[in-house]
Amino acid sequence: MALISTHALTVDTRLKDVSMSLQRGDVLGLIGPNGAGKSTLLKTLAGLEKYSGEIKLEENLIESYSSSERSRIIGLQPQLVNSTWPISVEEVVALGRTPWHDRDEAAIQQAITLAGITEFTERTIDHLSGGERARVWLARVLAGQPQALLVDEPVANLDIHYQLSVMNVLKEYAANNNGVIVALHDLSLAARYCNKLCLLKNGECVAQGTAAEVLTESLLNSVYEVDVDVDLNRQPPVVLPK
């Protein structure tokens, strides 16, 4: 049974009739041009947008969950995050326990270990580099132990080392009987890490399936309006504009 599934999901003019599903163990990649609706889809699944259509958590409609129950199952890491106050890394991660109304030290430490930020938990968030911060934000959402983890552009502005480290964390998390949906611009990373892809354009899902089914030169050309070189047989796979 799908962990999250949507049917004819519509959000004003930003999403139209999107039907998709996320299984446990999946890393589902949302790809598509700017303004295609990737962030809107993630925010809607996390309960931040009004929608029509259907969202189900396993067999139940999402409306049957209270907002606090929902937030324990679905964790969202939005694209743009900042901390107003210069709080310590450990305090940021501890905020991830908010849905549970507790401060479960075991869960916090586990998230810190998983995100690989053990060496700077005592530093304050304003003293970290962009790459370090990206992993702290990830640890924050992991501390809530969501079964479905939604992450919006986690590798934007990161160097290749941190890109791989963040994507590996997501892959490892999904492998633990959870589901991950990640919005990505880097199609090579999407081909490499996502076992399923959903290609959006103007709020519609124009293709979904495996990398081989979605990342075809003709489909990408029609969506992005540029010629694309696709070599999925290489290790790692390469998808680059010509």
């Binding site: 309960g47 901390s83 107003t84 106050w85 210069p86 905020l95 908010t98 809530g144």
Partner: protein, 330 residues
């Protein structure tokens, strides 16, 4: 582990010391303990009257007003995610001033006796608050600031009209003195307004402390963690306005306490907006009570108003904060 300093016990100790000092300091030396004992047991003596009817109300009002201002400042700065926000920003101060002015000029609420100004001030603050909540809609930071500014401006204009047509020049002087802020000659019955306001406003704000903490990472993250951001934000504004309205209607404008106290304490509470609330209330109480002691120690004659003193002391600190802040962005 992050270096932890539990600041609350220190603040509580200081609070007790300052309160005792406030009961002890005055033009006549009396024993605090026996004065309190006489007052409590109903014995009529000079020390019972001095302690129980003059210094005790003044001390308690200073503590309550300070706590209300400190707490509301911490809550509002957390909600609006801006360390330079002042509690009077929600428009409650000007509303309270307008309400009080209507008592001075038109003799409204004469039934309430000595509490007339307080009651009118509170009503003024609540009306200003309701208008402001209606105007600010969702409680988004920019809207709260705009709506507060709009309501303050309207109330200020109405206050100017009242002053313009003042029938009695003495009433004007009285109003201006009241607005300068003081906790002297307020009477124990002011506490009937202050104590419930502090309790209700404080409970409302404390009920939203998880929201204040999560909002530090932005509204989207707070909402995704199951918090009712709009409702909670409006509740924090409501709690703030109750606290500010009650304290302004009892003591007039006591400037800078709500701005500075949270700012000074933030490093001791790991910069967490939720853990800042109680220490800010305690430190606000300490600061206002200590400033009031200072007012009483100044040479006799025309008493320096408490609000004037806190502004005189607070303004340089505020300038220092602005300079420090501007250096961060250089």
């Amino acid at each position: 582990m992050v270096h932890k300093i539990k600041i609350t016990p220190y603040l509580l100790t200081m609070l007790l010391l300052v309160a005792w000092l406030s009961l002890w300091v005055g033009s006549v030396h009396v024993s605090v303990l026996s004065g309190l004992a006489d007052f409590a047991s109903g014995v009529v003596s000079n020390q019972a009257i001095i302690i129980g009817e003059i210094r005790l109300p003044r001390t308690l009002i200073a503590l309550f007003v300070g706590a209300a201002l400190g707490l509301s400042g911490a809550a509002l700065q957390g909600l609006l995610r801006n360390p330079l926000v002042e509690p009077s920003l929600v428009g409650a101060s000007q509303g309270a001033a307008l309400g009080a002015a209507s008592v001075f000029y038109f003799g409204l609420f004469s039934i309430a006796g000595t509490l007339a100004i307080t009651v009118a001030g509170l009503i003024g603050a609540l009306v200003a608050l309701l208008l402001m909540l209606a105007l600010s809609g969702t409680g988004r930071p920019s809207l709260v600031i705009l709506a507060g500014l709009a309501i303050s401006t309207i109330a200020g204009a109405a206050l100017a009209v009242v002053l313009n047509f003042a029938p009695n020049p003495y009433a004007m002087q009285e109003l201006v003195f009241w607005l300068l802020g003081s906790v002297s000659n307020r009477g124990l019955d002011s506490l009937y307004v202050l104590a419930p306001a502090l309790l209700v406003g404080g409970m409302i704000i404390l009920s939203q402390r998880r929201l204040l903490a999560a909002l530090g990472l932005g509204e989207q993250i707070a909402a995704s963690m199951g918090l009712a951001v709009n409702r909670g934000s409006r509740l924090v504004v409501l709690g703030t306005a109750i606290l500010v309205g009650a304290s302004v209607s009892v003591a007039g404008n006591i400037g800078f306490v709500g701005l500075l106290v949270p700012h000074l304490l933030r490093p001791f509470t790991k910069y967490r907006p939720d853990q800042l609330l109680i220490p800010s209330a305690l430190a606000g109480a300490i600061l206002v009570c200590a400033a009031d002691i200072l007012v009483r120690l100044l040479p006799y004659g025309q008493e320096l108003k408490l609000g004037v003193l806190t502004s005189l002391l607070g303004a340089p600190l505020f300038i220092w904060l602005v300079v420090k802040e501007s250096k961060r962005w250089l």
